[in-house]
């Protein structure tokens, strides 16, 4: 078509790992843009919306995308509500109201938005008076009333910031239709990118350790010839191989809903399974790799300590692994939360 690769989730996963093995932050920015580009231009956007933005997106390498959804104080954790009918209050405070001339006026504050400092176009989730379901508006970053406050050192790869929308006016046509909200706010593709970054980080650390173990002589022979180091390197290889298998399986499953339908796949939330396993395995792999470097493993002018940090970012992202385990358990228990349960919590 127009020059985009139109890659599936598994392919994006493989590409992101390669990028992250080089630099987790750049990988995060690019993969977030390509993930959202896929969701928007291969999914949510209408032909008119595609015409309006796709070419800019394809022709400008600095045309980054961001999803402005999270709001201050929002809590998406299951936590205490595990296997209980109540659910979190997911009502959106940002609003979009329609003017007489059909324009949307957007007001709200979004926080911890990946890519916010570099984004040229925001997909902003809003609640709309008169509509019972939230919607998504496309808001160019240069729209008057849009301001971004970048986080200095966010607990996240790439960059993040708060997005303030004050009386921003966007044309009626910028409202995404149909299932756009569910499509864009679904966590699977974001988790998949995060897992791919974790794999890249872990691989970079592991390969650095192998190279060093072949060069550095200790006790009269290269480190890699010592059983103790051999065992650590083997564990690293085992963790990376099994983690990659889990991540790819989840990504493939997301690309092939039919495989779940015909029961040839487990009905567990494979993305959550891969997230918990991979993030924890990669932290261990990064720490083991750094340990092989001795004191150099903790020095800021060496990459090892950064690999550990980047791995920890994966392990403590979103709602955290304890919470993901609870979501997996609800699936095991076959628990279905009543649809109208959100208000129950709000009432607490």
């Amino acid at each position: 078509g127009l020059g985009g690769a139109g890659a599936d989730g598994l392919t994006r996963c493989i590409v992101t790992e390669e990028l992250a093995a080089g630099d987790a932050d750049i990988a995060a920015i690019l993969s977030e843009t390509s993930r959202l580009g896929h969701l928007l231009f291969d999914g949510a956007a209408s032909d008119a919306q595609r015409d309006a933005f796709l070419l800019k997106y394809l022709n400008d390498d600095r045309f980054h995308l961001a999803l402005a959804h999270r709001e201050a104080g929002s809590d998406t954790r299951l936590g205490v509500n595990y296997h209980r009918p109540v659910a979190n209050d997911d009502r959106i405070k940002a609003t979009a109201t329609k003017t007489s001339n059909g324009e949307w006026i957007v007001n709200g504050v979004k926080t911890c938005i990946p890519n916010a400092p570099v984004a040229a176009l925001f997909a902003v989730t809003v609640s709309m008076p008169g509509h019972d379901r939230p919607g998504v508006l496309l808001v160019p970053a240069d729209t008057p009333g849009v301001s971004v406050i970048a986080h200095k050192s966010p607990w996240q790869h790439g960059c993040a910031g708060d997005v303030i929308l004050k009386d921003c006016r966007v044309p009626a046509g910028n409202l995404l239709g149909g299932e756009a909200f569910d499509l864009l706010t679904g966590t699977e593709s974001a988790q998949s990118q995060l897992q791919a970054i974790a794999l890249g980080v872990g691989r970079a650390a592991h390969e650095a350790a192998i190279d060093y173990a072949q060069l550095r002589v200790q006790g009269g022979r290269p480190l890699i010839q010592h059983q103790a180091i051999a065992t650590k390197l083997a564990d690293g290889a085992i963790r990376l191989t099994t983690a990659r298998g889990a991540v790819w399986q989840a990504a493939w499953a997301a690309d092939h809903p039919e495989a779940l339908a015909d029961r040839s796949l487990s009905d567990l939330p494979l993305s959550a399974v891969a997230q918990v396993y991979t993030s924890e395995a990669i932290v261990k792999a990064a720490k083991d790799s750094a340990e092989i470097f001795g004191a150099m493993g903790v020095m800021r002018d060496m990459p090892l300590q950064k690999y550990i940090h980047d791995a920890r970012v994966c392990a403590h992202s979103g709602d955290g692994n304890s919470d993901l385990r609870l979501r997996i358990a609800e699936a095991i228990a076959g628990y279905r939360r009543p649809a109208d349960s959100a208000l129950a919590l709000a009432g607490e």
Binding site: G79, C112, K287, G294, A295, D301, H316, E348
Partner: protein, 399 residues
């Protein structure tokens, strides 16, 4: 069997607790956040602590120190580390080497070096063993490669020794006033026989500090490179006999030149205990005061299990550390100090990681305190818990 502290130990504990909470903790996160390698160094904390006796705690009373026992030292290290692990280390680093002075130096050397050390609140000590090309080989010299290990050369010229070479990753190097330096005085024999220990003041001609390392953990104090270019050290500064470094260092037949003395292992596990206490106390406070889904975090079973594990490991570590300190005071030889040091690596890392799990990341913001604790805890991997340190202890186990 008696786990109680005596009055003197108790009073040092209280003194340390007060100093830690009033003078250390308030600066902990701010010092951790400084982007440079602890430059400029915070001398105020050292001076205040020194006046209270925390710099000279281990110097014998007859030399003007406090002559505390190992149990007291362990308790004080843990109390200080509970506020900031690296600040605790900045003080205990001096105890480590004042133990060495008292154990190994002549009266004349003590008069020349211990006296000024005690007198000057900004007099810090250090020891240089590790070199860019020799770390673990100093700890566990390979049987089949006698030449392995440190390379810094010292050659006799009349009443002086001429030192040439480098040391790396040396705590206090950039800010210390006196260093113990292990050098090869005979390159033709193995480390154990060919190494001599020198007392090297920081103003020694031909001696200078190289790079200052910017560590991801333990960011309070400075750690640097030492460069010797025809550095001239008087013969009178030799510790013990020529070729006696390893024995003098307390390593003896263990071929151990790293710990300086048996204090080294205790120092690391007692410091780790302080970090664990900090993590447990803060985690409990956080879980008991933070709401999720309308209820306290602590009401959740997952959080209860995480905190149970944190406290369980911490109390087990405390029991082990106190036993090791007692064995040191009783001069009982065992592998327990080494085992406790190895294990403190596993405990301090698991406990701080559980703490980080409990804090969680709010959107894209990680609590700075838990982030600092996991970075400090990772320091143990190369100082206390790597393969070589574990195998070294294993080979000493009775059989």
């Amino acid at each position: 069997m008696d786990f109680a502290l005596n009055d003197e130990q108790r009073s040092w504990q209280m003194k340390a607790r007060e100093f830690a909470s009033q003078e250390l903790r308030p600066h902990s996160l701010e010092r951790d956040a400084i982007p440079t390698a602890a430059e400029p160094f915070d001398w105020e904390i050292i001076k205040k602590g020194s006046r209270l006796g925390f710099r000279t705690l281990a110097v014998p009373k007859e030399w003007g120190g406090h002559g505390t026992d190992f149990v007291t030292q362990a308790i004080v290290m843990a109390e200080l580390a509970k506020a900031d692990s690296a600040m605790s280390k900045a003080f205990s680093q001096n105890w480590k080497w004042s133990h060495l002075i008292s154990a190994t130096c002549t009266e004349e050397q003590k008069a020349r070096f211990l006296k000024p050390f005690v007198a000057d609140d900004t007099f810090l000590l250090g020891k240089g063993i590790t070199e860019p090309g020799a770390g673990s080989d100093n700890r566990l010299p390979p049987e089949d490669d006698p030449k392995a290990g440190l390379k810094l050369r010292a050659e006799r010229k009349g009443d002086e020794w001429i030192l040439n070479g480098e040391k790396a990753f040396i705590a206090n190097a950039p800010i210390g006033k006196l260093f113990f330096i292990d050098a090869r005085t005979d390159a033709s024999v193995p480390l154990k026989q060919g190494t001599t220990m020198f007392l090297v003041p920081s103003d020694t001609p031909g001696f200078r500090i190289g790079k200052v390392f910017n560590k991801s953990g333990w960011r309070f104090y400075q750690n640097g490179e030492m460069i010797f270019e025809n550095a001239r050290v008087p013969h009178a500064n030799i510790v013990g006999e020529v070729g006696g470094a390893v024995k003098k260092a307390g390593g003896g037949d263990r071929g151990d030149t790293t710990g300086g003395d048996i204090f080294g292992d205790l120092e690391l596990c007692a410091n780790a205990l302080g970090i664990c206490d900090d993590a447990c106390e803060t985690a409990m406070k956080y879980a008991r005061t933070t709401r999720q889904g309308g209820r306290m975090l602590f009401d959740q079973q997952t959080v209860q299990l995480q905190i149970n594990k944190m406290v369980m490991l911490t109390e087990a570590l405390r029991s082990f550390v106190m036993r090791v300190a007692w064995e040191h005071d009783k001069k009982i030889h065992s592998c327990n100090a080494g085992l406790a040091m190895n294990w403190s690596t596993d405990v301090v890392q698991e406990v701080t990681e559980l703490y980080m799990e409990i804090r969680g990341s709010q959107g894209c913001v990680m609590d700075q305190h838990s982030d600092k604790l996991v970075r400090d805890a990772f320091i143990w991997s190369h100082l206390a818990g790597d393969n070589v340190q574990r195998m070294k202890v294993a080979r000493r186990l009775p059989h």
